[in-house]
């Protein structure tokens, strides 16, 4: 059935000449492989810019963690490790479903592509939901620098970590930790929101059969983006949640 649709598509091509001119080949490319290589290369370059974008934040994290070590340890202890772990799992599974989506596009299975993409959207939204819950919790705990920060909870130690008794000036420095925490997870969540929105558009077009006739590029490139956002989280999770668990 799939090969039949493909044949039908080719026959309908407005470019009458030569016959082997698939409709998705843009006019300025010589061939489909050239278009595909250019698109993939462009995507990797874009991901490189994203690495530099997050790189600034990771650099700041590195410096301030060295400066305000106790504050970073105490700040890290307040995060919900179960939420972080769940979110990591959710994201890794979503990367799997996305990879399956790309596979479905490559093997030209329209329904399965749509299904895998919708699953990815659901998992992405689940991630954002859990993240929003965490942020709300930090708001309640008065850990949001600039809006409602109070160093109170770091002065006397918590139940789980009774040793987290910081002097007042160091307790104030946890604001740097939370600034970075919100900036990093916020920027990551923004990328997730952009990702989910793009994926929604992609699903609509995939439903119409746009990507299952050999034009895999958009799905493949979106997959790269999704995995990249996933990998950023794979770095954020240990740096923000795990690194000071046993101190």
């Amino acid at each position: 059935m799939d090969s039949q649709t493909l044949a039908a598509q080719t026959a309908e091509t407005p470019h009458g000449h030569e016959g082997e001119h698939p409709p998705f080949l843009r006019h300025h490319f010589e061939s489909v492989p050239q278009q595909r290589e250019a698109a993939t290369f462009g995507m990797w370059l874009f991901l490189l810019t994203e690495i530099m974008f997050f790189g600034g934040l990771f650099c700041a994290y590195l410096i301030y963690r060295n400066w305000y070590y106790p504050a970073f340890v105490a700040g890290s202890h307040t995060l919900h490790i179960w939420a972080g772990t769940t979110n990591t799992t959710v994201l890794i599974i979503s990367s799997f479903t996305m990879a399956m989506g790309v596979h479905a596009a490559e093997t030209r299975m329209r329904k399965s592509l749509v299904t895998w993409c919708i699953l990815t959207i659901i998992l992405g939204c689940a991630f954002l939901g859990i993240k929003a819950y965490e942020w709300h919790d930090e708001w309640v705990e008065q850990h949001v620098p600039g809006l409602n920060f109070s160093p109170e909870s770091f002065l006397h130690g918590s139940e789980a970590y009774p040793d987290d008794k910081l002097p007042l000036d160091m307790a104030e420095k946890t604001q740097v930790y939370y600034s970075l925490y919100f900036a990093m997870t916020g920027m990551h969540a923004l990328h997730m929101i952009i990702g989910v929105s793009l994926l929604t558009l992609l699903v609509i077009r995939a439903y119409g059969g746009a990507y299952t006739t050999g034009h895999v590029n958009p799905v493949e490139n979106f997959g790269l983006y999704w995995h990249f956002v996933d990998i950023v989280w794979i770095f954020l999770f240990p740096l923000l949640y795990l690194i000071s668990r046993h101190q």
Binding site: H28, G42, M52, G146, V176
Partner: protein, 553 residues
């Protein structure tokens, strides 16, 4: 080997019947175009607009500095005016100037492609530029921003109640426009070259844009995240740069200059590419040391990433890192010098003619060399402490950016104008404009070297009366310079309708773009060219004369 080339007789030239300019009509065909040449034109118009806004700001600054007291502008207005001048000129003129106009127009043709790899992203980049521009205009209309173009913290985050967020977002968006341009260029140069167009057959213009694109792609995102942090700090008060919360303003400086130092190479490298083309064409010689010039562009791009802290010598960075950055700064002078020497060697025994682009290119050579050498003064630690934050700095970077880049931009616009529009500009008045620009420039900025050396600080509306004579010289020069910039605007616009018809190759240049009709077809080439000759091969050009004029109409 005969090197003297007679330029073709333009009186017999005719405009091609079909070109990218008249393929489609109507506003929509321009605003929704994917054609790199049309997008280049859109950029040319919008960049010129911002150039004259930034120029008007410069005019206000120079008028204020005519007298020692702050009389024309109040001190805080003066701050807003020089901030607007800086932001507009850096982010809305210099960064996109050559790449987004001449580069956008020429690079696909030079590599033998029909378009850039991603035409829609190219158009998106123009729309982002316009969105950023509108935000910036809004920022000015609502009362402006007075941080200077550097958004220095904690000044920008804590002590000002001007429109820092609007300006910051404008620059953020303009940054993405620049990222997309750079990304498009890199992919195009890698993946879209015509058969036979090897890396070492590429014109040096393409090499320098490749190097600048690397900087755009790697540097600009760091500026983006820095601005995001500034905006968040102002908006909700997070503390990454706020000392009261444990943050460090010095980190802001590191992140900002990690982009903004490479940014000066983003600004100058495309200009160097223009100069390579112009000097080769009007000396009728292959650029001397092609490989060295090509690799020096890449070397500038690489070294450019490791010198940013020379903007911070007096900001309390460690002496050891200052030492290292000072040495690295001097190292970056080497590839720039390689270029200047190679251009000079290209001129040697060439058949030089003095067309307008060549006059601008000569202006570039002299002024850029002065600007570059004073950069080495400033890279020296002891000198820097004396000279930094004075007019010496102002003179230095204006020599590089205005004397260098703006000259190169005008050289490029004049050089490719016949290709872009199919018509010539009036030769006499354009030569006059080139000379006026040069004289006006020297008169404006040379006194500032002396002023800075004598200790006049930058960024103040008032100054001690003994500095007045030199400031009057400078302001007088600025008015001459203003005339020098208005003239091209007038006669280039005039030439659109009344200019002589140029013909495909009025300069007898060797680039692929000169072998097709002017203005080109929408898809540039009637059929994909096969490249069999090296860049700047004037003998090849001679051998093709009379036999091959590929036009389709």
């Amino acid at each position: 080997m005969s090197t003297i080339v007679t330029l073709p007789d333009q009186s017999t030239a005719t405009l091609p019947r079909v070109s990218y300019l008249n393929k489609e009509y109507g506003l929509k065909s321009w605003l929704l175009t994917g054609d790199h040449k049309r997008i280049a034109m859109l950029y040319l118009i919008s960049i010129t607009f911002f150039f004259f806004i930034g120029g008007a700001m410069a005019g206000l600054i120079r008028m204020e500095l005519l007298t020692p007291v702050s009389d024309l502008l109040a001190a805080d207005t003066y701050n807003k005016v020089f901030s607007a001048h800086g932001i507009i000129m850096v982010f809305f003129f210099l960064v996109p100037s050559v790449p987004a106009t001449v580069g956008n127009f020429c690079i696909p043709i030079m590599v033998g492609a029909k378009d850039l790899a991603f035409p829609k992203i190219n158009l998106l980049s123009w729309y982002l530029y316009i969105a950023a521009g509108i935000l910036m205009i809004c920022c000015l209309a609502f009362g402006g921003v007075d941080t200077g173009w550097t958004f220095t913290t904690p000044l920008s985050t804590h002590y000002l109640n001007t429109h820092v967020i609007t300006a910051g977002l404008a620059v953020f968006i303009a940054g993405f426009s620049s990222i997309f341009t750079g990304l498009n260029f890199i992919v195009t140069i890698h993946r879209m070259r015509a058969p036979g167009m090897t890396w070492f057959r590429l014109p040096l213009f393409v090499w320098s844009h490749y190097a600048a694109s690397i900087l755009m792609v790697l540097g600009t995102p760091v500026l983006a995240i820095t601005l995001v942090l500034i905006v968040l700090e102002r908006l909700i008060g997070i503390g990454v740069f706020d000392p009261a919360k444990g943050g460090d303003p010095l980190l802001f400086q590191h992140l900002f200059w990690f982009y903004s130092h490479p940014a000066v190479y983003i600004m100058i490298l495309p200009g160097m590419g223009v100069i390579s083309e112009v000097i080769s064409t009007f000396s009728r010689k292959r650029v001397f040391g092609y490989t060295a010039v090509a690799f020096s562009s890449v070397a500038i791009a690489v070294f450019g990433f490791f010198v940013w802290a020379h903007h911070m010598f007096i900001m309390g960075i460690s002496n050891y890192s200052a030492l290292v950055f000072s040495l690295l700064t001097m190292l970056v002078a080497v590839p720039s010098a390689i270029k200047v020497f190679n251009w000079s060697a290209t001129l040697y025994k060439g058949s030089i003619t003095f067309e307008t682009p060549m006059l601008y290119a000569f202006g570039f050579l002299g002024l850029f060399t002065i600007g570059g050498l004073t950069g080495v003064f400033l890279g020296t630690l002891g000198m820097d402490i004396h000279l930094t934050e004075t007019y010496f700095i102002v003179a230095h970077f204006h020599f590089v950016m205005v004397g260098g880049m703006l000259m190169a931009y005008l050289a490029g616009v004049h050089f490719w104008w016949p290709k872009m529009t199919g018509r010539m500009y009036p030769e006499g008045v354009s030569k006059l404009a080139a000379v006026i620009t040069f004289v006006g420039f020297i008169l404006t900025f040379f006194p500032q070297f002396i002023l800075g050396y004598l200790g006049m600080p930058r960024r103040y509306a008032a100054y001690p009366p003994e500095f007045q004579v030199l400031n009057v010289f400078s302001s007088a020069g600025a008015s001459v310079l203003g005339v020098g910039y208005l003239l091209p605007l007038l006669y280039l616009t005039w030439s659109l309708k009344y200019g002589k018809i140029a013909g495909p190759n009025p300069w007898q240049a060797t680039g692929l773009e000169w072998q097709i009709q002017s203005p080109p077809l929408t898809e540039n080439f009637a059929e994909t060219p096969i490249v069999t000759h090296e860049a700047y091969d004037y003998e090849w050009l001679e051998s093709t004369k009379g036999s091959e004029v590929p036009t389709v109409g």
